[in-house]
């Protein structure tokens, strides 16, 4: 899809420094935590909110690169990562709960995202669905089953305003926010986060592969490690042949 580039503008890494599989957390501080589960880890540096590391899981080459908070910086990360050779993106993140189907402490695998973001609309009109890659979702589900970790599977919402979700009453558009939130609750949205819609939309239109897995209202290291194990195992499944890019 893209011309491969030797250098990119924002990332601390360039062509040749990246694995085909990239784990993309939002938080740069989560990159070393996720990397603890890799062998032969190389910390490649940080520029702005983009922190990069690379290592191996069962001999499969895996990168970990943070996107920063929100869809604007996620779009930059996805574009530049794909320019330098990445093809499969799995977001590890934290989320809020929406309709109650997923609650505090649950692990949520997203099949698709509500495009309550501004970035993805600058790529393709809003009617287009933000879908996770079916093979990535399938690998995540199979990996969590193999590891005996219960998960919830469903649609997540990606928003641009964090405080619009947690304190909608103080926003000038509070009624609009309330009305939409009620629709997401009734329509079956399980989790709320801030990057998946753009990650899924861009991957879909550029012929890349992406998925997302979230800790619902939980941020501790133990949960992040539990999720990371699922993601690494899913990458191993994909590398063994489930995904054909």
């Amino acid at each position: 899809m893209f011309d491969k580039l030797e250098q990119v503008k924002h990332l601390p890494i360039s062509f040749g420094d990246i694995a085909r599989y990239v784990i993309v957390p939002g938080d740069p501080n989560r990159v070393p935590i996720i990397s603890e589960l890799l062998d032969d880890v190389q910390h490649q540096g940080q520029n702005r909110e983009f922190n990069a590391a690379r290592g191996k899981y069962k001999d499969v080459d895996v990168s970990v690169v943070s996107t920063g908070i929100g869809c604007p910086s996620t779009a930059i990360a996805v574009e530049e990562l794909s320019h330098i050779g990445a093809e499969v993106f799995i977001r590890i993140g934290t989320s809020g709960s929406v309709d109650g189907s997923a609650q505090k402490g649950d692990i949520f695998i997203a099949t698709a995202a509500v495009r309550d973001d501004g970035t993805s609309k600058q790529y393709i009109p809003i009617e287009f669905p933000a879908l996770a890659d079916i093979e990535v979702v399938d690998s995540l589900i199979k990996a969590s089953e193999a590891l005996n970790v219960p998960t919830k599977v469903g649609v997540c919402q990606s928003k641009d305003s964090f405080f619009g979700e947690v304190e909608p009453e103080r926003m000038p558009v509070s009624e609009y926010l309330d009305m939409k939130w009620k629709a997401w609750q009734r329509g079956g949205v399980g989790a709320s986060e801030m990057e998946a819609a753009t990650l899924f939309t861009l991957s879909s239109i550029f012929g890349l592969h992406s998925g997302g897995i979230f800790a619902v209202e939980t941020h501790d290291k133990e949960t992040i490690h539990k999720i990371t194990k699922i993601v690494l195992e899913s990458i191993y499944y994909m590398e063994k042949g489930a995904i054909n890019a």
């Binding site: 669905p129 879908l131 079956g188």
Partner: protein, 265 residues
């Protein structure tokens, strides 16, 4: 908590005992697994692939036959053309016990590599239609159920059928797609069409987006198999014989997928 004499459907809602206004069906008339063609004229053709089938209702564009395939109860109901009548069909069928809906339709190919005769298994749909936004804001994704997509894919592989997996476009105006230059909003139609093509959308049809969105809200399982019956850019279409043969393959793919779906009612 079931009300007196009420029985619960698969998702814990209450089944409606009354005859539904448009589809003219009541509880017991249908199975949990419903195939949705657009054309009422295709209902009998689809039912011919069952091991047994009988006509249970016919009203307006809604014609329903229920029967069995390899011991599994199955139903086929036509939706008519377009999302408005498809939403009515899904709602009323869900009221009387349907919990899985698979659209069996035709479509126009949109990519170089989508050729007439091939089947598209929809993973999601572009919501370029007016019905689903009267349910859920436009930002919500029209997404097929993950397990249904996988069951259809497995069935296609088992039956050795040429197929694609991906996003389809649902529109309201058939002639807006076929003769965009005649429409007052020609520029918008062309601009969006180009965006869908660039975004990798596989084919164009008229019901999937609403089936997926209303399905999410009703907490039922949805999927769609679209036969590429025409190709505007190449000026290709299927002959009547080719159409029958290929539609038959679509039906078989859906029926075999039903064997992977648990009977929930």
């Amino acid at each position: 908590m079931p009300k007196e004499d009420g029985i619960e459907d698969a998702k814990g809602g209450l089944l409606d005992e009354t005859v539904q206004y448009h589809v003219q069906l009541k509880k017991g008339d249908i199975s949990d697994f419903v195939i949705l063609p657009g054309d009422p004229g295709r209902v009998e053709f689809i039912a011919e692939h069952f091991d047994k089938a009988e006509l249970v209702a016919e009203n307006r564009e809604y014609k329903t036959m229920t029967g069995e395939y390899k011991g599994r109860p199955v139903t086929v109901t036509s939706t008519g053309i377009g999302c408005p009548s498809a939403a009515i069909a899904l709602e009323e069928l869900a009221n009387v016990g349907a919990s899985t809906f698979v659209r069996c339709g035709t479509s126009g190919g949109m990519q170089e590599y989508t050729r007439v005769g091939e089947k598209v298994i929809a993973t999601g749909a572009v919501r370029y239609e007016g019905t689903s936004i009267q349910y859920m804001p436009i930002e919500f994704p029209a997404v097929a159920s993950h397990d249904m997509v996988l069951a259809l894919k497995n069935s296609a592989i088992k039956n050795n059928l040429d197929h694609h997996l991906g996003i389809v476009q649902s529109k309201d105006s058939f002639y807006g797609q076929h003769n965009p230059e005649k429409m007052p909003i020609a520029d918008e139609l062309r601009q969006k069409w180009d965006a869908w093509v660039k975004g990798g959308v596989l084919c164009s049809e008229m019901e999937a987006a609403t089936i997926f969105v209303v399905g999410s809200y009703r907490k039922v399982r949805t999927g769609a198999v679209l036969l590429v019956a025409g190709d505007q850019a190449r000026g290709e279409s299927l002959t009547k014989e080719e159409y029958k043969e290929n539609m038959s393959e679509s039906v078989k793919m859906i029926l075999d997928s039903s064997l992977e779906i648990e009977v929930e009612i």
